[in-house]
Amino acid sequence: MNFEILKNLPVYNLDKELNKLLESNVVQWHTARDQICINTTKDELDNYNYGRGSLWYDWDKAYHDKNNELVVPTRKKPLFEKDFSFLCTVFVDTLFEEVYRALEKNYVLGRVRIMNLHSKNCLTWHKDNSIRVHYPIKTQEGCLMIIDNEVKHLEKNTWYRTNTLKHHTVLNGSKEDRLHLVATVLEEK
């Protein structure tokens, strides 16, 4: 099954909670406004940007060479999903902590990220090494996830187990940002 609705996880209005954190500047988007990682490694407890993007490639340093080929350097020190096992300090005592603890009861987690996909953007067609659990925080009609050849709009405030071991992508065909909480699942308990 590519998409499975999960009923065993708490349903909160994380949109409101995130806005509260952003408006009070407790949390700020990276300049790319793309991801906030709510968990981190033991040496980066305050750093909610540490888990942004690829664990292997440093997309912030990507460039086009003289032949106009895209070059993406690797990170000096690669990161590993399993090391992201600490909730970032800024999310302690928030609804995100409650959600994170509930996820921890059900799964061995990798990174748990708030992923922002801007209007009229899509991700590459790719496979992940693990399944992902999605929770749409803010979404609109026209936001789609495609796994294999299956197309689905994921409803707001609903938990989905998604089979991202298969080729997949997401696209935002709406006029506003699309925000999902996305948990990397290393193992199901």
């Binding site: 895209l70 209007s119 009229k120 953007n121 899509c122 991700l123 590459t124 067609w125 790719h126 009609e141 026209g142 936001c143 789609l144 495609i146 050849n149 299956e150 197309v151 689905k152 709009h153 992508t169 696209l171 935002n172 065909g173 709406s174 006029k175």
Partner: protein
């Protein structure tokens, strides 16, 4: 209900070579280059001005530069007249708004990797992929989007059947415009 079908085989290398020459010569404007026009000869004047009086089925005149070209040969040898033929550019890792069109569309992939770039129809649901060397018809009266999940831009030639007229009897159009177009 038909959503997607192959129409005809074509020579991809030849049509891509001619298309790339036009792109190099003309340059993009609003991600489009018009190969046909209605009143004024131009690659750009008929570029989509959303909400304007531009009528796609009236853009039936081929740009004079296309005289003797393979592109024109392919389009004029179809068993229907072609309108509003355009080269269309889609940035890497981007898509359109999920929408319906007033016309169905024909596609000729020029620069496109069907593994990474594809059309999606969420209501069906259906994913349409378009390998090189063919003309494809797509039922764009249905809700759809085109996602370019590649690291490179996508370029397609997209055109209409000139015999088709704007189709408003569509729940999405009615939702947007009420009965404005159906009264």
């Amino acid at each position: 209900m038909e959503i997607f079908k192959e129409i005809k085989d074509i020579d991809h290398k030849l049509i891509a070579k001619e298309s790339n020459n036009i792109i190099e010569q003309v340059g993009w404007n609003n991600c489009q280059i018009c190969l046909q026009y209605s009143d004024t000869i131009s690659y750009h004047d008929d570029v989509d001005k959303y909400g304007s009086t531009r009528i796609e089925h009236e853009c039936v005149n081929y740009h004079p530069d296309l005289e003797g070209s393979y592109i024109k040969k392919v389009l004029t040898e179809l068993d229907f007249p072609v309108a509003s033929a355009r080269l269309m550019f889609l940035h890497e890792r981007s898509c359109y708004s999920t929408h319906v069109d007033l016309y169905t569309r024909y596609h000729i992939p020029i620069i496109s990797d069907p593994k990474l770039s594809y059309m999606v129809f969420p209501d069906i649901p259906y994913v349409a992929r378009m390998p090189y060397g063919k003309i494809y018809w797509t039922n764009t009266h249905q809700l759809h989007n085109f996602a370019n999940g590649a690291h490179e831009p996508r370029v397609h030639i997209i055109f209409n059947n000139a015999n088709e007229r704007e189709y408003y009897d569509n729940p999405y159009i009615k939702e947007l415009h009420g009965d404005r177009f159906t009264q």
